[in-house]
């Protein structure tokens, strides 16, 4: 469909380019011929999408038909309907997989996905028919493992995405509803999905796996025991550093032929996770600092002390991820720039500074002045990294990095604007300063871009 649109666009534009002398008449014919050939080979998305939607609609209609007569049906008929619908979906998938056309394989994977959906529906309906009222997250785990079978044995990327989402749901239920402080079993199931996703170069499944890992991290913080909330700061450090380490691992994947195609999705997804986690450093409550509204009541800076100190395990986690991130950052610049530019060196310096700050925070005494100092140090480093990300992304053409940094910057400014911890005057200064830095940065970058463009024009002439 889109290839056809591209051919039509070329047919419209090429005569003008030929007339301008940019393309020869023979070149015009060759370009059109090549584009036509590619369009003919491409997947026709609309018929496939309509076929899949049609199949799903038909399936939904059949399900509703049986639902309307569910109570009147004997158990054996119910079981035949449940098992039969699942088997039919897989039979159609099997037929599609044995075909060689790309369209039939696409329909086959849609049917595999339908099979997985029906497998989950069957778990729930059989539990209902036989009054099985077990530990309900186990039903979701069973559903996820059903998808895992398809991932390893068939294999199927849509099944992998569905299975990873289900695994995250299972873990979320165990954590939020059944009090697991850290639901470690999730990591085993997660690895079983992530490994084939990486091995087969599945972008969507890799993205889903990283998002699921992020959700797992998030639920840990959300459900952390209330009387030990002070540990949230250190958990955030671990998760932000994990995001940075995965992001930099994604950068390193560019040089590994088997994984190069996944580099972009790993870099970008991990970057979003790292920025999301790091954003929460701006909130004073995360640092255990008192809210502004408490001042003048029971608050005394001389006697105040941070309630939670990081234990050896937490410090070890922070150290491992911080040093891994630093090592990957240094490795990145060692490879990409033989003669290091100032930008590269600034990146390494910031990575070193961030590592030092992250390692120092859990080791600092818990006095008020130390907590405030670390609050400023952590967020100052974060803002410096955001600015560097904008410059680096702008220069290297990595728009995603630039947009990510701007969004994180804007979100942090907005958070400061509404934060009671600071006086109105302090907030006004921070927000004005943030705006000024932004304008100055854009001005400098635009000036550099123009001078670079002028230099290129000079060289060309």
């Amino acid at each position: 469909m889109w290839d056809r649109a591209f051919v039509n666009r070329l047919r419209k534009e090429l005569p003008d380019w030929t007339e301008q002398g940019w393309v020869t008449p023979a070149g015009e014919a060759a370009i059109i011929g090549e584009a036509e050939a590619r369009a003919a080979q491409g997947i026709h998305i609309v018929p496939i999408a309509l076929a899949v939607i049609g199949a799903l609609t038909l399936g939904a209609g059949v399900i509703l038909f049986f639902a309307a007569n569910w109570d009147e049906m004997p158990k054996i008929v119910k079981l035949i309907v449940l098992f039969g619908s699942m088997w039919i979906a897989y039979a159609i998938a099997g037929r599609g997989l044995s075909g060689s056309a790309r369209s039939s394989r696409a329909i086959a994977h849609a049917m595999l996905l339908l099979g997985i959906i029906l497998f989950g529906a069957n778990i729930n309906l059989i539990a209902q028919i036989y009054h099985i009222d077990a530990h309900y997250p186990n039903g979701v785990l069973m559903w996820s493992l059903g998808a895992l079978l398809l991932v390893w044995l068939v294999p199927s990327q849509p099944a992998a995405v569905a299975g990873i989402v289900l695994a995250a749901l299972w873990s979320g239920m165990e954590t939020l509803d059944f009090g697991w402080p850290v639901h470690w079993p999730f990591l085993a199931v997660w690895a079983l999905f992530a490994a084939p996703a990486l091995y087969r170069g599945w972008k969507w499944a890799t993205c889903a796996a990283l998002v699921a890992l992020g959700v797992w991290c998030f639920t840990i913080i959300v459900d952390w025991p209330y009387d030990d909330r002070g540990q949230s700061l250190y958990l955030l450090q671990v998760f932000a550093l994990l995001g940075v380490a995965v992001h930099l691992a994604g950068v390193a994947m560019q040089d590994i032929p088997r994984l190069a195609s996944l580099s972009t999705v790993v870099r970008r997804t991990a970057l979003v996770g790292a920025l999301f986690a790091a954003h929460f450093f701006i909130y004073v409550g995360v640092h255990g600092l008192p809210w502004y509204s408490w001042w003048g009541r029971d608050f005394d800076p001389e006697t105040w002390a941070r309630t939670a100190q990081a234990g050896p395990g937490m410090i070890a986690f922070i150290a491992v991820f911080a040093l891994a991130a630093l090592a990957l950052a240094v490795e990145r610049y060692r490879r990409v720039a033989a003669a290091h530019s100032r930008r590269d060196m600034a990146g390494i310096a910031l990575a070193g500074l961030a590592t030092a700050v992250m390692l120092a925070n859990p080791l600092m005494p818990g006095r008020y002045a130390d907590a405030v100092f670390m609050y400023i140090a952590i967020n100052g480093t974060f803002f410096a990294i955001l600015i560097w990300m904008v410059v680096d992304g702008y220069r290297s053409g990595e728009r995603f990095q630039v947009y990510g940094a701007f969004i994180a910057y804007g979100a942090s400014m907005l958070a400061v604007y509404f934060m009671d911890f600071f006086t109105l005057m302090e907030r006004s200064l921070v927000v004005m300063g943030g705006g000024a830095v932004l304008i100055a940065g854009v001005y400098i970058l635009e000036r550099q871009r123009r001078s670079a463009a002028a230099a290129e024009t000079g060289v060309a002439s």
Binding site: A67, W70, S98, D133, L153, G179
Partner: protein, 189 residues
């Protein structure tokens, strides 16, 4: 060759998924067939309308355990596994002791396994030191419209539940009784 191999693997997936579903039913049936039948008293029940039919939410007398009224351990935490020893009373089976692990017991008693739902119970209008327990027999699906009949039995009617408990402590609802007469009975087909 490759296509045949792939077809074989897909068939293997279908067989394993089907086996998992059949296994759910088989485990349940094993408890129903091998388990010892015990009669449990239920307290007011609460029907919830769902997409298909109703399900009644069953609250048993043995769901709320007062530490002062039972022997055994009294230091349970939320979501912890619990083993409850039941003995037959005048009509219903009643909790006599609670344990962290499966205790030794004679033929006159039954051990039912559950999970601690909440710490602290509310009985007789006051908070008591005890635990609320789930056994996995708290929901029972009934045909659409029939849940209310079980929720609000007529004057003098009594709803009781016949439960099968196997040697591992797993339990399954065998029948729902209205005035000692079987209203719903569990069958394989």
């Amino acid at each position: 060759m490759m296509k045949k191999y792939r077809t074989f693997l897909l068939i293997l997936v279908v067989v394993l998924q089907t086996a998992a579903l059949v296994g759910m039913v088989a485990i349940k049936q094993r408890t129903l067939i091998n388990g010892k039948p015990i009669l449990l008293e239920t307290e007011p029940i609460d029907p919830r309308s769902l997409f298909r039919g109703d399900y009644v939410r069953l609250n048993y007398t043995i769901s709320s355990l007062d530490y002062a009224a039972v022997e055994g351990d009294n230091d349970f935490e939320q979501h912890e596994e619990i083993y409850v020893m039941l003995r037959e009373g005048e009509k219903f089976w009643e909790a006599v002791s609670i344990h962290h692990a499966m205790p030794a017991h004679g033929p006159e008693s039954v051990i039912i396994r559950g999970g601690v739902d909440y710490i602290g119970i509310w009985t007789g209008g006051e908070s008591r030191d005890g635990i609320s327990v789930r056994y996995g027999i708290e929901n029972y699906f009934v045909p659409e419209g029939e849940g209310m009949a079980l929720e609000r039995p007529a004057e003098g009617e009594e709803v009781t539940i016949l439960v099968a408990v196997d040697e591992a402590g797993d339990s399954a609802i065998k029948a729902v009784l209205l005035n000692d007469e079987v209203r719903y009975e569990e069958k394989l087909f």
